[in-house]
Symmetry: C2
Subunit: 335 residues, 2 copies
């Protein structure tokens, strides 16, 4: 479990890349139909992942975008949601009750949906207008398929010129992430050994990183290891949250690579002065082989996903003896 299996990762990466043509066709047909806004919808790790794409659209385009948790989306009846909306859902299992409700809500109103789904034949796989298969095992690798759709759409709408170069480089993302995993592995092991009995952990970051940070906080640390957590935006950290900083509180700051990096650095300066039990993970320190410098900032969320959702998770499972088979409630009891 803790060992990194190169062949497994590379084979999965290659399979994901092969879906490129089909995903581009979906993006092209959506562009032809025309869209006025985009709703990114999901629960847990799925919506966390989509946060990054909402951020890219806000920075690159003038298409209004919204990120919504599935259950609220299905009851809120947002007026901005019309037949000219595009709804993009991610669901690893394809059968999360809330996501199924959300997609049915769209179907009833003639709203175009794209479902990224990890299980063929599942409810969402069958219900979505357009379906893309995503990797159900390696969370970081799911990004590849969503990058194809999102950036092809941005390209078609006139907001991203370099799509071909970008999409060609996606071929190398899985192997680059594999190298990131190897480089981070000793640090992940050390962190797990030091922190596997923590009562509480504070995770901090900003910009397109915030989704993956929230995901680790709730869907990994709490869900698997029952460690109480808080995920905090680097800018908001200074408005209340930083009063819990002391020599004991366990803190991790993720320094991203996008426009918000300066905000992360402000947190780092504060931690250097007032915290003692903290770790700074700088995404810029991980080389991404054959990835252009000007694209790196778009790949930060996938890098964070391989660091936390793969390496750190695996070492924490090893140390705690807890994992996907030892949950108390999630898919164990009815709720």
């Amino acid at each position: 479990m803790v060992e990194i299996q190169d062949a497994f990762y590379l084979e999965r990466g290659e399979k994901n890349y092969q879906l490129r043509g089909g995903i581009e066709e979906i993006a092209d047909s959506i562009t032809e139909k025309g869209i006025e806004n985009i709703f990114f919808v999901g629960s847990g790790g799925s919506i966390a992942m989509l946060c990054a794409f909402a951020d890219f659209f806000k920075k690159l385009s003038n298409i209004p975008v919204f990120t919504e948790t599935s259950a609220e989306f299905a009851v809120a009846d947002y007026k901005q949601l019309t037949e000219k909306s595009l709804v993009i859902l991610v669901s690893k299992t394809g059968d999360a009750e809330e996501a199924v409700q959300a997609i049915k809500f769209c179907k009833d109103r003639g709203i175009t949906t794209v479902g990224f789904v990890g299980v063929k034949g599942s409810s969402i796989y069958n219900l979505a207008d357009h379906t893309v298969y995503i990797d159900e095992d390696i969370s970081a690798y799911r990004y590849v398929q969503v990058y194809f759709l999102a950036f092809r759409l941005l390209h078609n709408l006139g907001f991203f010129k370099d799509y071909d170069r970008f999409a060609n480089e996606l071929k190398y993302l899985p192997s680059a992430l594999l190298e990131v995993a190897k480089q981070f592995d000793p640090m992940a092991k050390e962190y797990a050994e030091k922190h596997y009995t923590d009562d509480f952990q504070l995770w901090i970051g900003s910009g397109s990183s915030i989704g993956e940070i929230s995901r680790y906080s709730a869907c990994v640390a709490e869900e698997l290891f029952r460690i109480k957590t808080q995920a905090m935006h680097s800018a908001e950290f200074f408005h209340g949250c930083f009063e819990i900083v002391d020599e004991k509180t366990p803190i991790v700051l993720i320094k991203g690579e996008d426009e918000s990096r300066a905000i992360d650095e402000r947190v780092e300066r504060f931690l250097n002065k007032y915290a003692q039990n903290y770790l700074v993970i700088d995404i810029q320190e991980f080389p991404l082989d054959r990835i252009s410098d000007d694209f790196r900032k778009y790949f930060s969320p996938a890098v964070i996903s391989i660091l936390l959702g793969d390496r750190l998770r695996n070492h924490m499972m090893e140390k705690t003896g807890l994992g996907y088979t030892t949950r108390k409630y999630y898919r164990v009891v009815s709720y």
Copy 2:
């Protein structure tokens, strides 16, 4: 401090209502100019408050709205932000560094700004295109002024017919909130006595309540009492976070009055079964004298603000001996 001073509250409420005409003129001049989208911008308690208004716009109108933390807003350079945007900022002190950066960013680009500011003559008070004075002492009462602007805009744009009735009832909101404070006071006292030494608290809610819940979590419990917290959306609770529920974890669920109430009720059923150290606060149980039933859901955030940001905060200050003069970092050290 803990005692409720009727005269003080009612006098403040009356003063706020008297600003109605001036705020409506601002809304009318903005409508005349025309707007394509709205950015709600602030930090800490200010952005928390504005979350509710973004929610109202999403549910009532087709104007794209965004909520942004000031520091990130000032660096992210969102493409959706144009001369046709309206930026609404709230700043109690009017001089928060990030908010000043945000408003300067707008001025440089000719983007219309409305500043709700608690200190006359402060930077933001002077820099905003339109300025509204807000109550600097009672957080719940600040809502009155923002309701005038937001719902007058919604009315002018054709999305809210009942503005006159709504605005007339705002005259009674401060006195209704005062009665809410009195009704909740014994429960607040009991909660503070039981929980003032907590290491961690989990706060849960949804819909338009989520901003005030986040505000209490970070800007009150952490900022003043150094209690580690997590604010969690009722829908997301079931995707990871609920694994920390046990007989000991201190939890508060706020049951709101809007479309998301059913999601809160699902959490309540779970807590009844698996938690023991929890409290459910149902906003529906507080009467709001002379407020129409169909408007109540818009006032939930102000109700939560008087409950948590006033009564609970005051009883917690009494029990802990901590408060605005005992902070370790906020406006005490440089950062």
